[in-house]
């Protein structure tokens, strides 16, 4: 079975931009193919992660972006799973290369979130919740995660200040990331004194609305070598759906994320302790705490210590560094592109392209990308430059 690798990556600028979705994609694609043959000479299939047609009144994003890439007559499709759409697209590319069907597949993600303002984004994102009982109660993405945060603070020793520290840490990482939407440091007081959104979550606990596109070229190892590309093995992938309504789930044991991570570890032949860096779905600060536990990095109830240096964390924590990119919180969260921005960060970290935010000696990364509220759907990937075990 051919092992898929990432051969190249690219992204648009992130945040409020004057480019529509297809043009953001063109920017990302041009970066990914800089120095390579044109896409039409390489790419055999294409998947596009995209959350919502309500931003641009545009579906058929597979067809549209294939055409804009100069790829007519390839199989191309849009993949939907709210904020997990990007990693779902990556997972489809991985499977196509693994099963020998294609040697080069493009996994893309794009979202033009700023087209209708904050209320438009709030409305578009609320479509991810159960229509019958949740949407009709007026629930929003921040308030859904606030329900998790309230419960997490109730059950553990974590405080609102700990959650604020996670935001501070991710902003500090983003300050060293030239791709970040918010490349600036903040302090704890800024978070704690920011506007209430859905208590205990405040404005600075929340990832921003923003535009963006990302492209990841998945190939066989042989093709990547022929192209002279630095390559990162995609050694494991896992995915799990959970109840659509957060009320019907365990709200502090994020089971879907645990299963997605464990499946990816098992495929890669590693355990959580082997992971050097993790890009997790910190759409809200509490997510990083919950996902550190679900991924097996932290004992139950201690994930909120993710902002601390490894030596200061509770016994049982691994040495993993979380969200070196700045995470969704500060790197940015253009919904359908987010899972691929996570892969992009891991690729740059593992191939010496992360500049002064590089985590020294990093060889293995875990990506956890979620859609809906928390683990309504989770996709995990293990990326590594280590030899196969």
């Amino acid at each position: 079975m051919p092992e898929p690798v990432i051969a190249s990556v690219g992204a648009s600028s992130l945040g409020r931009t004057d480019l529509p979705g297809r043009d953001l994609f063109s920017v990302a694609l041009a970066e990914a193919f800089d120095g390579l043959p044109d896409p039409a000479e390489l790419v055999e299939a294409m998947y596009v992660g995209n959350q919502s047609e309500s931003y641009e009144h545009q579906i058929m994003y597979g067809t549209l972006l294939a055409e804009w890439a100069g790829l007519r007559h390839v199989p191309a499709e849009r993949v939907e799973g709210c904020a997990a759409a990007g990693a779902l697209a990556l997972r489809h590319a991985v499977k196509d290369v693994r099963n020998g069907e294609h040697e080069a597949v493009l996994a893309c993600g794009v979202e033009k979130m700023t087209s209708a303002g904050t209320s438009g984004a709030t409305d578009a994102l609320s479509a991810a919740f159960d229509r019958a009982l949740e949407q009709r109660s007026g629930i929003t993405a921040p308030s859904q995660y606030a329900l998790l945060a309230k419960r997490y603070l109730h059950e553990t020793d974590a405080t609102e200040r700990d959650l604020a520290e996670i935001a501070v840490k991710n902003h500090a990482n983003a300050a060293r990331n030239p791709r970040a939407q918010f490349p600036k440091e903040i302090d704890v007081a800024t978070v704690l004194e920011s506007a209430p959104i859905a208590p205990p979550l405040k404005l600075y606990d929340c990832a921003p609305v923003g535009d963006g596109a990302a492209v990841v070229l998945v190939t066989t190892a042989e093709l990547a070598a022929d192209l002279d590309c630095p390559q990162v093995r995609i050694a494991g992938t896992g995915a799990s759906a959970n109840n659509i309504a957060v009320a019907e789930r365990d709200m502090t044991d994020i089971a879907g994320a645990r299963i997605a991570a464990e499946t990816a570890y098992e495929e890669a032949g590693i355990d959580a302790a082997a992971v050097d860096i993790a890009e997790v779905h910190d759409a809200f600060t509490v997510c990083e705490a919950l996902l550190a536990e679900a991924a097996g990095f932290a004992p139950a109830g201690t994930g909120y210590q993710s902002y601390q240096a490894p030596a200061e964390r509770a016994d049982g924590w691994t040495d993993v560094q979380l969200s070196p990119s700045g995470g969704l919180k500060a790197r940015g969260h253009p919904i359908g592109a987010t899972g691929l921005l996570q892969a992009l960060e891991a690729y740059e970290q593992l191939t010496g392209g992360a500049g002064d935010r590089a985590v020294e000696g990093a060889e293995t990364a875990l990506l956890l990308n979620e859609g809906g509220v928390a683990d309504a759907v989770t996709v995990g990937h293990v990326l590594t430059t280590a030899e196969a075990p």
């Binding site: 904050t118 209320s119 438009g120 709030t122 409305d123 609320s126 019958a132 009982l133 949740e134 949407q135 009709r136 109660s137 007026g138 629930i139 929003t140 921040p142 308030s143 606030a146 329900l147 998790l148 309230k150 419960r151 109730h154 506007a195 209430p196 959104i197 859905a198 208590p199 205990p200 979550l201 109840n243 309504a245 957060v246 009320a247 019907e248 709200m251």
Partner: protein
């Protein structure tokens, strides 16, 4: 119970569930194999996969499991904000999200609440899909 002949009078469908709720009856699915409560009722149990799901009346009383206050509402609910939302664990074991008719500051985890039902307002009917227009709205009240 099989799901092969489901129609809109069956309380394992949304129209059937909301018809009963409009009369004040909260119906849940109860798995015959693992006893999981499913709100609303549906043909299969998510906990064990069984399709042996019975429909049974559920207590409308419960306790607040988690709660928050919405400051940045969807456009359809802008006039209501800020409002309190909670996940409630009902006495019979199911959990349900809904609005709470109380200020955020007056609610705490563990508080006793009771589910009440009202007709949709004109504004709610305005944003409802055609088939949802008459569906009642559930609200939790502090006891």
């Amino acid at each position: 119970m099989t799901a092969g002949n489901l129609d809109a009078t069956d309380s394992r469908t949304l129209p059937g569930f909301f018809d009963a709720l409009a009369d004040g009856d909260l119906l849940g699915g109860v798995c015959a194999d693992c006893e999981q409560v499913l709100l609303p009722p549906r043909p299969a149990c998510y906990a064990c996969g069984s399709r042996a799901v019975d429909v049974e009346p559920q207590s409308r009383e419960g306790r607040v499991f988690s709660y928050t206050e919405v400051h940045t509402p969807p456009p359809a609910f802008a006039a209501d904000a800020p409002y309190t939302v909670a996940v409630v664990e009902l006495t019979d074991g199911g959990r349900l999200l809904g609005r709470v008719a109380a200020d955020y500051a007056d609610v705490a985890i563990g508080d006793s609440v009771e589910l009440t039902v009202r007709e949709p307002t004109a504004a709610e009917r305005e944003v409802a899909l055609d088939y949802e227009t008459d569906w009642p709205v559930h609200i939790f009240e502090l006891r």
